[in-house]
């Protein structure tokens, strides 16, 4: 990635997440993006929780894990 592309990506991210960045700052966003979370059971409340974490981009992809389909 060139530095120009990096700047563009950063700006796009800033625009996308502007309102929440004011709440927890760039370092807060970074902490969320570095976090790996495991949800046990995709129940109603579990899916709702994850939705609220997916929307603010808590889990920005670095290296997605392989899925394990039902055997």
């Amino acid at each position: 990635m060139t530095s120009e592309m990096q700047t563009n990506a950063k700006e796009a991210k800033q625009k996308r997440y502007d309102r929440q960045l004011r709440l927890w700052g760039e370092h807060g966003q970074e902490a969320m993006e570095e976090c790996s979370v495991c949800l046990l059971n995709s129940s109603a409340c579990g899916s709702e929780t994850l939705k609220n974490l997916v929307l603010p981009g808590a889990f920005f992809p670095r290296a997605p894990l392989p899925c394990v389909p039902p055997s």
Binding site: H27, C38, G46, S47, T49, A63
Partner: protein, 514 residues
């Protein structure tokens, strides 16, 4: 000195759903992330796919197996995660997961909705709150302990207030007025500093005498009077912060020893993950450095915040003042950094544990640092360590939170014996009532509660609900749980400690430390 390499962690910045269930009609009724096409398919796969559609930047993964199956074949499965959100788990599985999380210091949020009841339990181990975001932050103007540059500023520009023109007098920044008033008060009181409420009032009287007949609008004097209570304080750490800073040095040594031991031992280390230890070391290193600063250069005071509140002043004056505080903050930060360097050398630690930005934020928030030691779920459950007194107090509160807690435990006990929730089958609702009552009695004994709470109505309600999840309760609880997850992950704001109970029938909530 070489930094200890941490092993690469899979899936950093990602979510994984572990769920062996297939989508049923019941799921269609309460879960927005499955639709009719998903019927009979893996629920983990369906929810992962629909969640991903919400944010194209996010990619998740799933494992279509129950957590107990996963742990049977791969006991170390959860080790690579920072946060586990366990929902709707029977107590047997929950105990297994909670034990792993406590051992490996993985943050755990337990979530359960049962009919109209919602339950959240946080187990964040030793949790550090760096930025608590207080609602009413105190300004840090150091009127009682002025930095040398501030004294110089006041001496050069405001040696004699009486010679100032009307316009200039109305624009003397209030911090200077406070300095002058405190100076006068000290001169009249043998060099002492005002500390009691009465003494501060006397400073207020002095400030009132500063008003000049020719100055019509002396807002700056009002500002000075208004700031007396918040600014005439020594910026010393509060007793809880002082205790935290005092214990920090010993924690650094302890964690450093653990780290050296883990890196010299071959194979996997049995304790927490290197990332968790690194995070803990980073916090305690910063705390120990600030503690050393308070003892030495700070003369008992915390590093200067560096930001000042708005005040009536000419722009040039205000900017000059801002710079004075900013420079002092930088000066203090450098001193803290030097202490940190010394600590890192003394303990032979890697040099990349703390970056300057993090240290700066730490210094800025040093006045409101918090460490919360969460009780483990094992401690909560064991009769010797459970908190009967807290629970008894909540048994007949308005939200009936204690009663709901006992009921959920009883329903869990019911499930443990029968592998189904009470009232799950329509035909057995009534016969389950007496069996659930039996479970309530058992749980009451287990919890050391002095008397069996009267839960007749709730017992039949729990059987009527039959362990069903409702979409509205799930939505409320999902909202709260995700807020807590963000607090847990960012070390910002103060997370709840440790149990939250939502009574959806009455719309009431309670937090208990169990």
């Amino acid at each position: 000195m070489t930094p200890t390499p941490s092993p690469p962690r899979a899936g950093i910045g990602s979510f994984t759903i572990v769920d062996g269930a297939t989508v049923t009609q019941a799921d269609l009724g309460n879960n927005f992330f499955v639709d009719e096409d998903c019927l009979g398919k893996s629920r983990a796969a369906s929810v992962t796919q629909l969640l991903q559609e919400l944010n194209e930047h996010v990619s998740g993964s799933y494992v279509a197996e129950d957590i107990s199956q996963v742990l049977d074949s791969r006991p170390e499965y959860l080790n690579s995660f920072n946060l586990v959100i366990a929902t709707q788990l029977p107590s047997k599985e929950l105990t297994k997961v909670a034990t792993i999380c406590a051992e490996r210091k993985i943050q755990l949020i337990v979530l359960h909705t049962y009919g109209f009841m919602g339950y959240i339990r946080l187990m964040l181990n030793e949790h550090h709150v760096v930025e608590s975001h207080p609602d009413h932050p105190f300004p840090d103007l150091r009127v009682l302990a002025p930095p040398p540059a501030l004294l110089e500023f006041a001496r050069q520009r405001y040696a004699d207030l009486s010679i100032l023109s009307t316009a200039e007098y109305a624009h003397v920044p209030y911090v200077v007025l406070l300095l002058k008033a405190v100076e006068q008060w000290a001169a009249a009181n043998g060099g002492a500093l005002p500390s009691t409420y009465k003494q501060k009032k006397e400073v207020g009287v002095l400030l009132e005498q500063f008003r000049r007949a020719d100055v019509q609008s002396d807002v700056n004097i009002d500002e000075a009077k208004g700031a007396i209570n918040t600014t005439l304080n020594m910026p010393k750490p509060s007793s809880s912060v002082a205790a935290l800073l005092k214990g920090a040095r010993a924690r650094v040594s302890q964690l450093a020893a653990e780290m050296h031991k883990a890196s010299s031992a071959s194979g996997d280390d049995a304790g927490c993950s290197p990332a968790v230890r690194k995070q803990q070391l980073s916090f305690w290193l910063m705390a120990a450095s600030v503690g050393a600063f308070v003892e030495a250069e700070g003369k008992g005071m915390l590093p200067v915040l560096g930001t000042i509140p708005d005040m009536t002043a000419h722009t040039e004056t205000y900017v000059a003042l801002q710079n004075i505080y900013l420079e002092q903050a930088q000066h203090d930060l450098n001193a803290v950094q030097a202490h940190l360097q010394q600590l890192v050398t003394d303990e032979s630690l890697p040099g990349d544990l703390v970056n300057t930005g993090a240290l700066k934020r730490f210094c800025k928030n040093a006045h409101s640092l918090q460490v919360i030691n969460y009780r483990t779920i094992a401690e909560e459950s064991a009769p010797e360590t459970s908190r009967a007194s807290v629970l008894s107090g909540a048994l007949d509160d308005e939200a009936s939170s204690g009663a709901l807690y006992v009921m959920l435990r009883a329903a869990q006990a019911f499930y443990a014996g029968r592998s189904r929730w009470p009232g799950f089958n329509d035909s057995e609702v009534e016969s389950d009532v007496s069996m659930l009552k039996q479970c309530v009695t058992e749980v009451t004994k287990e919890l050391n509660l002095s008397s069996t709470p009267m839960l007749e109505d709730l017992v039949s309600e729990f059987c009527r609900w039959g362990g069903a999840e409702m979409h509205n309760i799930g939505s409320v609880m999902g909202g709260i749980a995700s807020q807590e997850a963000i607090k847990a992950v960012t070390n910002q704001y103060i997370p709840l400690n440790n149990t939250f109970i939502f009574n959806g029938a009455s719309g009431t909530t309670s937090a208990l430390e169990l």
